[in-house]
Point group: C2
Chain length 390, copies 2
């Protein structure tokens, strides 16, 4: 397999896009990534777009072809990939394969989504399309409900009283809002207090409003190429050294919601390919769609023993200056979660962390970073490991 490197990244501000369509958001992020790469649209040989809900909420199929035309890509192969919340990472993984295989030399992976156009009742139905449409979506389960069950199972399994677990979940929320306050592209750039957290509206016991990431619009993009070509284009070398992906079925096929099996399989593939272990990772962007999801993810990714992720928060181990800084961008919680864009935006953050250009939210000396996305009812996970240097 040929080595693959990143030579440019771009990202819109996340939040509510009242007037720009998802394709216009795509164009904004993509042109930033292409310009940063010192390339022109005509240099791009293939396009991979992660998008989860465009079909349902804007009635659009063959989105990737329209996206390619939007930025003047010259009739390139244009591929839309969908794996719910993992869509963006899946786009990067497949872009990686085309270069690794030797079929293309310079490709663009992107993600875009515009979900705030959907009114709240429809948004619940839209998100719920990620549950098994035939056997589970109709039961009344929603994603806040699903992750509420994850919290209950975690509390029960590890014998942590719910009020105590809530304190740890509050720490996740406060940490990510604190990080996001330093990210000019975050949807929410404001710290929150414990009092605000505890008094926020109950959504699905024990999840309150500040446990939940927002509905967002946004796009992110990344230009990938061979290490050889990258050496000529950039002096800020970042390689992709490991990719992993795995799946599972709906909720009824899973025994323990506090340990999504797809994540454990996916990330081990990525570690194995990179020849690295969790101890080697300097910074991680992971799937904190709900605060409990961050706790569970830090365990599944191998940073803490199972049942110990909550206690790690108490010790500040996932803070910016802790042992393994988690979600320096603010994560989905504070930066926002435009579904198809999320995995690519995680890549944007990690690449810039490795380049050392994240300013107030820079993780000191970050050389190796991991991204993690969890889609549907824990049904699609994809992970990527980025590393500095040739």
């Amino acid at each position: 397999m040929r080595e693959v490197a990143v030579v440019g990244v771009g990202m819109t501000k996340f939040g509510r896009s009242e007037f720009k369509s998802q394709l216009e958001l795509f164009g904004e992020a993509t042109m930033d990534a292409i310009n940063e790469s010192q390339l022109k649209p005509k240099d791009i040989q293939a396009l991979f777009v992660g998008n989860a809900n465009g079909d349902i909420n804007e009635g659009i199929t063959v989105l990737a072809s329209h996206a390619a035309a939007e930025v003047g890509l010259n009739h390139v192969p244009a591929i839309k990939l969908e794996g719910a919340c993992s869509s963006g990472t899946v786009a990067i993984v497949n872009a990686f394969m085309w270069i690794a295989a030797g079929y293309a030399d310079i490709v663009l992976a992107a993600g875009c989504e515009r979900n705030t156009v959907t009114p709240t009742p429809d948004a619940t139905r839209l998100m719920n399309s990620g549950n098994h449409h035939r056997y589970e979506a109709g039961t009344g389960i929603t994603f806040p409900g699903l992750f509420a069950m994850m919290a209950h199972m975690y509390a029960h399994k590890y014998n942590i009283p719910l009020p105590q677990l809530k304190e740890y979940m509050c720490m996740v929320s406060m940490k990510n809002h604190k990080n996001g306050a330093k990210n000019p592209k975050a949807q929410f750039q404001k710290e929150i207090t414990r009092e605000q957290y505890m008094s926020s509206a109950m959504i699905a016991t024990p999840l309150q409003m500040f446990d939940c990431c927002p509905i967002s619009d946004g796009a992110a993009a990344m230009v990938l190429t061979t290490t050889e070509i990258a050496k000529k284009l950039t002096d800020k070398p970042v390689k992709i050294v490991g990719v992993g992906q795995a799946s599972s079925g709906g909720l009824s096929t899973q025994k323990d919601y506090s340990r999504p099996i797809a994540r454990e399989i996916s990330v081990q593939k990525a570690y194995k390919m990179a020849g690295l272990t969790p101890k080697d990772i300097d910074v991680v962007e992971l799937h904190d769609c709900f605060t409990i999801a961050e706790i569970v993810a830090t365990e599944g990714l191998g940073f803490f023993d199972f049942g110990k992720g909550a206690y790690a928060l108490e010790k500040g181990e996932t803070q910016m200056t802790g042992r393994i800084p988690v979600n320096p961008s603010g994560g989905l919680k504070s930066k926002g979660h435009p579904v198809g864009a999320t995995g690519v935006a995680q890549g944007y953050e990690i690449v810039n962390q490795i380049r050392g250009i994240c300013g107030a939210r820079q993780v000191d000396g970050a050389k190796i970073g991991l991204t993690d996305t969890l889609g549907g009812p824990f049904a699609s996970v994809a992970n990527i490991i980025y590393q500095r240097g040739w």
Copy 2:
């Protein structure tokens, strides 16, 4: 790049599936393909599913993960790809890349769709999602309308009176129905007469009912592996020797609907990769969503000069015994067009033609075959060349 071979194919009967969901159809085709490969589900390392409309018509996202679980694939990476009517071919192309890259050894590419559940007015809206959602879908253009314009442009450009062009379009319809009558998996297994064709309902001038392919349900699947592994699994060797894909924007970006630019770019990539020319192709399955589309495709794929595809029909050159047999399966017109499954079903036919097991519709001595899918407003094209032997 590693060489890639096909070791198993499967396909449901196309038509109306009243009781089986698209995932059940997927399971049926997939288990046939896996069984034919002498493999077990646990041997499959990744899954690629082409599906165009599942989001809109059955409200399902993360379909590929649920599909993997449906047949007991063991937590494999599961990827849904969408490029409107080219979705199935795009799934095979990306499956090919994972093996070519050396990242996976045995993968499954499939396509599924269930569109007859959608009532006719909604079906028009559903299909129309393939047009540019923002600038064109709302203008009243429909796909029959689009291909009617293609027919008018073709007639005008090459100075063929419409009644004369209609005779050639009738020959396409009669040929494909004649071929489909010999295909036990075709939606329509019945020949039609010129009189039936000419007296059928007008849909969009000059397209009548027998110029249009049907709305269909169905699935198809293909197991791909390295040539080395394939040698141990099958004595009916079929390799994938060329893949190509290309895109274009909406109608407003295209000058000549009688020459979809994406097809010409895509198929040239496939020919170049295979080191072959149109003269080397023994059999082709191409995108005859409407009869005029077959005429235009035979030119774009290089079998006839531009403007001469219509006259080739008169000479019988695309008949089973002609110079280049086109759509021996019956094509979309007679076999049916379950959108996401179509490209994989074309692969099913070509693989079996190369194996020489197509019985009454066997093309004598077929060794090299081409597939062709055209998605959206001529916006996504993918082509694959299959060849006999190691």
